[in-house]
Amino acid sequence: MDYKDLGLKAGIEIHQQLDTAEKLFCRCPTVLRDVADRTGEFYRYLRATESELGEIDRAAEEEMKLVRKFCYYTYDTVCLVDHDEEPPTPMNPEALDICLTIAKMLGMTPVEQIHTMRKLVVDGSNTSGFQRTALVALSGTLPDGCRIETICLEEEAAQRVEGETFSLDRLGIPLVEITTAPCMRTPEAVQEVAAYIGMVLRSTGRVKRGLGTIRQDINVSIAGGARVEIKGVQELDLIAEVVRREVDRQTSLLAIRDALRDRGARVDRTVVDVTALFAGTKSAVLKKAKSILAIRLCGFAGLVGREIQPGRRLGSEMSDYAKKCGVGGIFHTDELPAYGVTAEEVARLREFVGAGDDDCVAIVAASRERAGCAAEQVMIRADMALAGVPEETRKMLEEGSSAYMRPLPGAARMYPETDVFPIALSGALWEGIRVPELLTDRAERFVREFGLDGALARQVAFSERLPLFERAVAAGVRPTLAARTLLATCRELARGGVAIDRVSEDDILALLSAVEAGRAAKEAIPDLLAELARTADESAGTPRERVDAAIAKMAPAVSQADVESIVRRIVAEREAFAREKGMGALGPLMGVVMQELRGSVDGKVVSETLRRELKRLLS
């Protein structure tokens, strides 16, 4: 597909949680909790309010089609600010410092005075009904020349547990939102920009790591299509696929529009009550509904069921709109008979609403009120199909397709946060922000200074173990040993079922120092780490004491005399083999000796001793 010809324009919004000690507008720690540890629950209703200019945001209004009751889980690490029972504290200066650092790394210009805003979000994910957010800096550039429009500092929302229930531990964790201009022209370019920005963020060493701590929203449009924002893409590797599928979707919707126009399609404004038609139906959904309403979509036949991206049809889009009224979805004649609806029922339905062969009939089944609301939504979405691609906020589904979420929010959702004073950003403050070394630069430096190979250097630089690596090197540990232990050894142990996460950084550092001091052989590292992991809970004392205890147990020091006697015994036991292979026996016998010594002795020492003993035997 030629994306340039299609006029693809894409931009990206990256949300990254910051690793601060406290939340953005309260003094709670930024820790995530297990819902089983909750200390209580409470519930609230939300209602959309007007902006200061007297408008109600269309996205908020849509969310309020249903009066919804939201339940919140609370913890002993959550406070009244998170409960929306206390005004916020001033903005966390640590978070602002990190945000300014990132802004400076991206070559942005800070605003002169930060104003905290309330961004209306009434889907329940914020107890207050808004998310606090502040525009901190503007106009940065990326290496490929793409422009970064803004960086904002905002509060994380509460995490949805299920349905309308949210967990308050995540609410209020600081995050930065970086928005690029729509300057990317291919799906791959979007992924590359996301990867680059992610690298910049991690270069600060002050952002959270792990699943869910970084999320991308992607803006996509094609010529003749519309701007669509796809929220919540968590895996970097899926970004290009999400863009490709959205381009497919918009292209297909435009093709459907053209087909509809050719056929002179229209939406019949009369909603027909067809409840009686399905009196004896076998369909479980229809049987339990109080009211079944039908909408005749003239000239839509075959198009409602046409696939627009993997697993999605125009009918899926209509269904998403209808769901806003609290119904489970819709049926349409492009997919019927199915779901317990018989061919005969379909024929009766078509006849009753006067549908011709070219027409599609959609039905909604629910309470009278909800069905009416849903029928109207179906008509609204059908009208949009006649116009082409609607501007929307969508949520990503598994594998990269997306579903409708709400209209694109407008500026009307922004309202000043009256409880937080503006913050002036002085020139001196900005000048004082230190820009950290980029991880890519750091990897190159590791190659240059430490002689690490390129791949390992990059792995170390991008690893969460980077700070520990740097501490180890500063403490005199050889960079290669530190890198191999922290990356390869730890990963292999973890794969082998060792709870390596339980070994503290200080213990690892003490272990590496013991190896460098000759108190343990580097071959013993895996066993020693496993022992440290096993005893992580019980062992007291300093890291050095713990490491020495592990050495005493797993790899007691062996004297040179002991080594020689063991080597002599093993060579004697395998004399025939040694005589047959000559010096070629060195390798196989080395393995036997090392196993016996369980890594207590440096391999180099063993190999020299063995070589001497073999030479003696063969001479």
Binding site: Y45, R47, A60, E112, Q113, T418
Partner: protein, 400 residues
Amino acid sequence: MRYANGGTALTGIYIAERDGMAVIKLDSGYNIGASPEKLERVGRAAPQPPAGAGIVIQDPALPELSIISTGGTIASRIDYRTGAVTSQFSANDILRSIPELGDIARYRDRQVASILSENMRPAIWQALARAIYDEIRHGTSGVIVTHGTDTMASSAAAVRFMLRTPVPVVFVGSQRSADRPSSDNAMNTLCSAAVAAGDLGEVAVVMHATTNDDRCAVHRATRVRKMHTSRRDAFQSMGMAPLGSVDYPSLAVTLSDEAVRRGAEEPGLHDTLEERCALLQFYPGMPPGILDAFEGYAGLVIVGTGLGHVATDWIPKLRDRIEGGTTVVMTSQCLHGRVCDRVYNTGRDLLRAGVIEGEDMLPEVALVKLMWVLGNEPDPERAGVLMQTDLAGEIRRRSI
């Protein structure tokens, strides 16, 4: 406005100037602060559409309630001058923003003040009592008073002493500003309307009972206190259970046996207040010379320690004040429990000096009661007796 700063050039709408910085709203909706000299005017913003045109449908079959607004958080929105919230809503605005009110009653509205409740004064209490009395005389089925929460309890108590009412008079406010989707204003107002249309026959405060949006409590005006700076359930009945509750969203009202019922009282207004009264919180080491500041005062409520004490060295000065014509009433910092100056020597000395035990009255309630008693009873001895008599549910006969 066009804004140029470093590598940035943007346009936005100028909103206000504050502390030497211009507040600019960008197209994205974000506000930023900018130096005025970096701004250049490029055009005029399109005039804003008139704010919301929705109206409440008034069903003639429903009873008519009066909404009297005085201001407060329940009616607040942003003030671009200070950036903080102020009270700029009328009762009509409240109706527009909470359309479900139309299912409960018809409404007439009236504005007595538009102030934050820390600016409340006895003169406004009087104006409020008169306005309510007026509404009752016009045949209203019930009165809702919207009020800032800081001093709402005092206003409710003051109105309770000045007014005899056959219909519910319900004070309501909100702890979380009306401009947030999570505001408690809608639920509190709906619950207050349910109470005002119901069977109550006294002055009450109706506010969230818990942090949940599940029910409101109905508190007696003379036994209620704001006990938290910010929580929704800040208002608590002190020394007694609430008079009742309102379930949300069903709006079913339950009243206890103790709640005075509709029609139990004839309407009446006695709106004289003696404003030369004060409330004084004692602290350890407080110099007795402070009392000189209250020379010429008709009444003084002291918030003493524990059972109702001040330091022994206060007694001579107190005796002078009382002999000089000041009625002195003792209440307690404990808020819970009854004053008893008969247990310790200091207390007995206070009684001998002429201090009146304020029973289990809340200090603020004792103050407004003293204003009302001294405004209506010129004889100090009889006034003293009235201060120890339960006039409006302010004194509990038994402590439980």
